[in-house]
């Protein structure tokens, strides 16, 4: 495919060859060129077709958020906002509490991501650079946490959080997720890639373990750290079951649960629901555009050896 593309670009060479080829050949070459150009056009049509299908739900959501409820219900429907109205956004933001939900989501996500990075870095460092009894057993215990789906622990966790007095609070939302077996595993692999000599050299320079971790190991493991950050960010941001059962009012509800509330509102405010969806999706879209590379690495951290 690549060679075809290069050939189709480097066309200036063709007229020179033309001098030596016969009339029949020239027709054949022209035909081949036409066919190649047609094949490229077909590929673009196919790509655009797929892109349109994938984007359609998002597009129609944005359009509907700019229409009035009457326009949304109109048949045939509007596929383009002729007179966009922005009222739905302020309704969702204020009356729909989306501003509050957004803040809650940000706070909980920051708590979880920070917590996971700190606990996973410490644990991974211990597993990679320190020698102590039961190390292997403890590592297996860390991996064993990956075998327990959160849904299985949810019943008792709810009781625990209520008993701790953390029901309907940021602490209750974040606490169960402050450690990660997967993250510890990921960072350990990255730390194992730090050359042993570096540790020895740092020790000669009088670096203790803490200083070596902060100054040398962590900076060297930055790609893995970024991958973990993205991974835990997406996990925390998209949580649904836990925030649903551990909160009881809008003061601590996250965006995802806020959308549930918006969806429950009546159909004559369906434009507000659409605006709420856009508000809920926007932060992630912005972050994904900025951190695309880290995102891909984070999402594929487990899939492809890296």
């Amino acid at each position: 495919m690549a060679t075809e593309f290069i050939e189709s670009v480097s066309k200036p060479a063709v007229p020179i060859i033309d001098l030596v080829v016969s009339e029949e050949d020239r027709v054949a070459i022209a035909k081949r060129h036409r066919r190649r150009r047609a094949s490229i056009a077909i590929r673009y049509v196919f790509l655009t077709f797929l892109a349109a299908i994938i984007l359609f739900p998002i597009y129609i959501t944005i359009v509907n958020s700019l229409l009035t409820p009457l326009q949304i219900a109109a048949r045939p429907p509007f596929f383009f906002p002729t007179k966009p109205t922005w009222g739905a956004y302020s309704d969702a933001w204020n009356a729909g509490h989306m501003s509050l939900y957004l803040m809650n989501s940000v706070i909980v996500t920051v708590l979880i991501v920070t917590g996971q990075i700190v606990t996973a870095t410490c644990a991974a460092y211990a597993f990679a650079f320190l020698e102590f009894p039961l190390k292997r057993t403890l590592f297996i215990i860390f991996l064993a946490t990956l075998m327990v789906p959160f849904e299985v622990t949810v019943i008792t966790n709810l009781t625990t959080v209520v008993n701790l007095g953390w029901y309907n609070s940021y602490a209750g939302l974040a606490a169960p997720f402050m450690a990660t077996g997967f993250g510890a595993f990921l960072l350990r692999q990255a730390f194992l890639g730090v050359p042993r000599d570096l540790r020895d050299a740092a020790a000669l320079d009088g670096y203790g373990h803490w200083r070596f971790m902060v100054r040398v190991a962590v900076p060297l493991a930055r790609p893995a750290m970024a991958a973990l950050a993205v991974f835990s960010f997406l996990g925390a941001w998209n949580q649904y079951l836990w925030p649903l059962i551990v909160t009881k009012d809008s003061r601590y509800r996250t965006l995802q649960i806020g959308l549930r509330q918006l969806r429950a509102t009546s159909l004559d405010q369906v434009n507000v629901t659409f605006a709420g969806v856009v508000i809920a999706a926007l932060p992630l879209i912005i972050l994904l555009v900025i951190f695309q590379k880290q995102l891909v690495r984070g999402l594929t951290a487990g899939a492809v050896k890296g």
Binding site: C122, L130, I155, T180, Y240, T300
Partner: protein, 310 residues
């Protein structure tokens, strides 16, 4: 003179080993200290509730709150796990996984193959193909729920309409939830498959091009086998995620109509909401049993990576 040096040697040896022992001890302390935060969280929020869950299954929750839970041994396990309610829920969960996982992988692979060519502007298409990673379960569910709504939705207008409406139709509700899920996961599937494709060395593909292998043969004989670890990984992780599906169900169907979308996780949630901890616990044990099979497969992959890492 000779005895002198021997003594000093001995002394330094003792000093060194003492220092070494001290360092060992300090390292041990530091190691445990660094593991402590994680271990604390895991003990409280993973292992304790995990074991407590089996224990809870032995107690029947009283019909009225306030009464003590009664020990019934394995009776509750037998009762719940043989009930039609559970069998149905289990079947629904498996059908849902079968509807979403293979389709997700195939579509992701298709997009990855299509986007894996050198065309001008292909980057824009790649961004679009991966765009649904920016949607959460709630975002996707609310979008599709509204699009499917018989009064204001676009899809009924486009002719996608049944009676009763799709999400209230026992025949189609699960399928609609599955389509929503596939769409939401498409971006992730595309990204994973793309990175798998890009990990295949160009020379191999070029060599088969020179050999004159037809594209279809090339795909089956070369690309797919080389991609199999990625596909396998996506299959295992995708299945685990499918078995833990909750948000879509809660937002689109609440397990209905007539329990046709009552996946295991939603059944647990309902039991918990009805304050029937005992039943919820038994259902959770069943969910664990199923995911255990899948995670064992996943651990095999991870384990292999551990050995590579060392």
């Amino acid at each position: 003179m000779t005895s002198d040096t021997a003594t000093t040697h001995l002394i330094t040896d003792v000093g060194q080993s003492k220092r070494f022992l001290n360092r060992r001890r300090r390292e041990t302390g530091l190691g445990y200290l660094m593991l402590a935060p994680s271990l604390l969280i895991f003990s409280v929020f993973v292992f304790y509730p995990f074991f407590k869950n089996f224990y809870l299954g032995f107690f029947r929750t009283p019909p009225f709150p306030g009464l003590p839970a009664r020990y019934v041994g394995l009776d509750q396990f037998r009762e719940v796990l043989t009930s039609d309610y559970f069998t149905n829920s289990f079947r629904v969960t498996i059908v849902f996984a079968l509807l979403t996982v293979p389709a997700g992988i195939i579509l992701g692979l298709l997009l990855a193959m299509v986007a894996n060519q050198r065309l001008r502007g292909i980057g824009a298409y790649r961004t679009i193909f991966s765009s649904t990673v920016a949607t959460s379960v709630a975002v996707a569910s609310v979008i599709f729920g509204t699009l499917l709504n018989p009064q204001v939705g676009l899809l009924p207008w486009l002719g996608l309409t049944t009676n009763p409406s799709i999400l209230e139709n026992p025949k189609y509700a699960l399928f609609a939830v599955a389509v929503t899920t596939i769409w939401q996961n498409l971006g992730l599937s595309f990204i994973v498959m793309s990175s798998g494709l890009q990990a295949i060395p160009d020379e191999i593909i070029e060599a088969t091009e020179v050999d004159g292998a037809r594209p279809w043969t090339r795909f089956w004989r070369v690309t797919l086998p080389l991609l199999s670890p990625t596909v396998f990984f996506a299959f295992v992780v995708g299945s685990i995620v499918a078995f833990q599906t909750f948000g879509q169900i809660d937002l689109l169907t609440q397990g209905g109509p007539i329990d046709k979308t009552n996946v295991l996780t939603y059944a647990i949630y309902k039991a918990l909401r009805d304050q029937n901890e005992g039943k919820a616990a038994v259902l959770a044990v069943a969910l664990f049993g199923v995911t255990l099979l899948l995670t064992t497969a996943q651990m095999r992959i991870l384990e292999r990576r551990v050995h590579y890492g060392n």
